[in-house]
């Protein structure tokens, strides 16, 4: 039957063309033109991969700028979100807990509203950014624990700020970049 033979041949040739040649040629071109990006924009320190600029990692300790909640705990072998809806009991309970913890952690007044991104989970579970408000909110905590003047932390955030353009993207900082820069600032703590 002519049509069946044609179907099989078109399927096979298309598979070779769009499934093998096309991605292989692109991989080659990408590896030559943009090797850093094609391999995942990885960050190296002392010949060791410490992460990727694009992939969020978990920051929960007091001495670092903290990242957003993640339903997959920043396990980058996977990705995904809570998928809890706006009237989900579970979501609201979790958010209430996170708001309280955040206020206590940063010594905020018990009635102060907190930035949405710090208490609500991202879509990928790997969001590398937080909003500038979320970064500013953490200054006093980090300044105290690292014995750095708040003004230099403010300057650090300003240097790392990426701006929104006509509603595209929220004005933000990349948490890993910010924390890598933070480590470079000399601490004035007497106890080291």
């Amino acid at each position: 039957m002519k049509e069946l033979k044609q179907s099989i041949m078109v399927f096979v040739v298309m598979t070779v063309l769009t499934g093998l040649l096309y991605p292989m040629i692109l991989t080659g071109a990408a590896q030559v033109l943009f090797p850093h990006q094609a391999d995942g924009s990885l960050v190296m320190q002392n010949r060791e991969v410490v992460g990727s600029h694009l992939i969020g990692q978990s920051f929960t300790s007091a001495k670092y700028f903290n990242s957003r909640p993640s339903s997959i705990s920043y396990n980058a072998a996977d990705s995904g979100a809570s998928n809890l809806g706006p009237t989900s009991q579970q979501l609201i309970t979790e958010v209430k807990n996170r708001v309280q913890k955040l206020r206590a952690f940063n010594k905020l007044p018990s009635d102060s509203p907190v930035p949405a991104d710090l208490v609500l989970g991202s879509a990928s579970g790997l969001d590398p950014d937080i909003t500038v408000q979320s970064a500013l909110l953490q200054i006093s905590r980090i300044a105290k624990i690292r014995c750095i003047p708040p003004s230099s932390l403010k300057a650090l955030i300003k240097r790392n700020t990426i701006h929104s353009f006509l509603g595209w993207g929220i004005t933000r900082v990349n948490v890993l970049k910010l924390n890598l820069d933070l480590r470079k600032i000399h601490s004035h703590c007497s106890h080291g």
């Binding site: 399927f11 096309y22 990006q37 992939i55 990705s79 998928n83 879509a123 929220i170």
Partner: protein, 568 residues
């Protein structure tokens, strides 16, 4: 809803239209076998392709042969993709050593990609080898989209040919679409995406030692090549589970703009292709404005409600109640909403935020966009075809009102065309409503829900609206990788695909045989504002009549409950 947001949206729509117009004209040249600037490069490849596959370039097909080739090719694709998944454990390019995919999931995924739906019951980075992603899924991203465009082009030929028994050659339309349109655009887009940070490597997953002293395994892969065609072909199946919300799939604000642009580009361009092919560009513009008006209403409604935030979150201490659940900071609220509307208008189904976590009214807009058959620009090919169905119904109703035989583009519409149009328009709503009713009546349907109360109903409605119209996006809280959902969603996708495309070809075949009726002063013209308004009304009335009851019990009710502070 701020002036800044509105300016951002307007900028997006204008740039898309400016790029789509020349692309539409270019595609008209490609499908009428005329010389383009790419002909010298592509034609030699094309000729070799035909020779290897035994295709006669001069052969024309009747609508039945055309449909038969479409069905056979789809069947071969289905079996091929099914086998690749089952056997991936024994195939190369599998650095993470993934085992073969289970049979029911393989069936669902094979149907999903072959029908241009790209519903994902699997997580790419934990299930599929690079071999499956490239030689299986990427291939279907190309050919299922090309098949959709091929069928649309055949339908347009039905209007422009006179007393003809043929409507083109399926193999040639499929091949030309892939070689002249998809491959060049994909190569350009993929390279831009890599430059911005989308990964493209065959290497294994990366181990990182984080600043806080933990180990993080980072999934990578040949993603950019697949994402480019995933967007351009209104496919939507992500390389990664989080789709275009994943930072390696959509790393920057600029790529958000670019990826959204590329999923909108060809559906808009095809409207202009249609105008160019029927040699009355005003016809194309009339359809463009009808679609754009519906699109804008959807965008503005969804954006208004989403930017109001969630009053329950506000009470819990979240500033302004801003709903950042399931959204990324580099993308933001406006682009998340805009994307969710465009991805359901077109049949793309790629997501850059989690639709399940949006407030109820944007969810309603998304379900409505899909449920009316994705006629607002729609999937590549199938969308415009659906709008032409609506246009035929509009002419039929108008014809009844003024007591004349209805015609469209000079072709008289008879009972046969109207029956086929009704089948094309009504089969997916019927499928969606019946399957949803079954799912909410069975434990196997309900046990998959993440959310309860009215939102649970929305989750199920969304799933069947998405699959019966070959969209592929999801209220992803529905844990649908179960035997029940793999099979019912799989069948919904099959019905949705072929009960649209086959009636479309039947209409084309019947119209191609007819002669042209010269226009008189009494002819109802289809390039006027009056027609545009009537067309929009028909779409809204058909959609509202069919879906008002379930939408009231799902998203509408949830909106009221949310403002009353009720949780489930």
């Amino acid at each position: 809803m701020t002036p800044t947001n509105l300016a951002g949206i307007l900028l997006f729509l204008i740039i898309t239209t400016l790029l789509a117009y020349p692309l539409g004209e270019y595609m008209a040249l490609v499908f009428t076998d005329q010389k383009t600037f790419l002909t010298p490069v592509v034609q030699p490849v094309e000729n070799v392709f035909y020779r290897i596959c035994g295709i006669d370039e001069k052969q024309e097909m009747s609508w039945k042969t055309y449909a038969f080739c479409l069905l056979l090719f789809s069947l071969v694709s289905l079996i091929g993709l099914f086998l690749i998944q089952i056997l991936q454990g024994h195939l190369p390019f599998n650095p993470e050593k993934f085992k073969g995919v289970k049979w029911d999931l393989s069936f669902n995924t094979a149907v999903s990609f072959m029908t241009n739906t790209n519903w994902q019951n699997y997580a790419g980075e934990t299930t599929m080898s690079y071999f499956t992603q490239m030689l299986g899924l990427t291939v279907q991203n190309f050919v299922s989209a090309a098949a959709g465009i091929a069928v649309l082009i055949a339908m347009i030929r039905g209007f422009i040919r006179k007393t003809s028994n043929t409507i083109g050659n399926f193999w040639i339309d499929l091949t030309r679409c892939t070689l002249y349109v998809f491959l060049p655009l994909s190569i350009i887009l993929a390279l831009i995406l890599v430059s911005q940070g989308v990964v493209q490597t065959l290497g294994p997953y990366v181990k990182a030692h984080t600043l806080e002293g933990k180990t993080q395994t980072i999934a990578v892969g040949p993603a950019a090549s697949q994402i480019a065609i995933k967007q351009l072909g209104t496919n939507g199946g992500g390389f990664f589970n989080a789709n275009s919300a994943h930072p390696y799939e959509n790393p920057t604000t600029f790529t958000t703009f670019l990826e959204l642009l590329s999923e909108f580009l060809i559906p808009v361009a095809l409207v202009f292709t249609y105008g160019a092919m029927v040699k009355e560009r005003k016809q194309g513009w009339a359809v463009y404005w009808a679609m754009m008006a519906l699109c804008l209403v959807g965008i503005l409604t969804a954006l208004y409600f989403e930017t109001q935030g969630n009053p329950i979150l506000k009470k819990a201490g979240v500033a302004h109640g801003t709903n950042m659940e399931g959204k990324e900071v580099r993308i933001g609220v406006m682009p998340s909403v805009l994307w969710s509307v465009i991805t359901t208008d077109t049949s793309t189904g790629a997501v850059d935020s989690m639709h399940d976590s949006m407030t109820p009214i944007p969810g309603l807009i998304q379900i409505f966009n899909m449920a009316i058959g994705e006629a607002i620009f729609g999937g590549v090919g199938s969308g415009l075809m659906m709008m032409i169905f609506y246009a035929l119904i509009t002419m039929f109703i108008a014809g009844l009102m003024i007591g004349r035989t209805p015609e469209f583009l000079g072709k008289k519409l008879g009972p046969y065309e109207m029956i086929m149009t009704s089948v094309g328009l009504l089969s997916s709503p019927i499928t969606l409503l019946i399957f949803s009713a079954i799912a909410i009546s069975l434990p196997a349907g309900l046990s998959a829900l993440t959310n309860h109360g009215p939102h649970g109903l929305s989750e199920i409605l969304y799933a069947y609206a998405s699959t019966a119209n070959n969209n592929g996006s999801a209220f992803a809280g529905l844990n649908s990788n179960t035997l029940f959902y793999n099979l019912t969603l799989g069948f919904a996708m099959l019905i949705g695909r072929f009960t649209t495309l086959i009636p479309g070809l039947a209409v084309a075949g019947s119209l191609a045989k007819k002669r042209l009726t010269p226009a008189t002063t009494a002819t109802l013209r289809s390039d006027t504002l009056l027609f545009v308004v009537m067309l929009i009304s028909v779409v809204i009335v058909v959609g509202a009549l069919t879906f008002l009851p379930p939408l009231t019990l799902g998203p509408f009710l949830e909106q009221l409950m949310m403002h009353a502070g009720r949780t489930f």
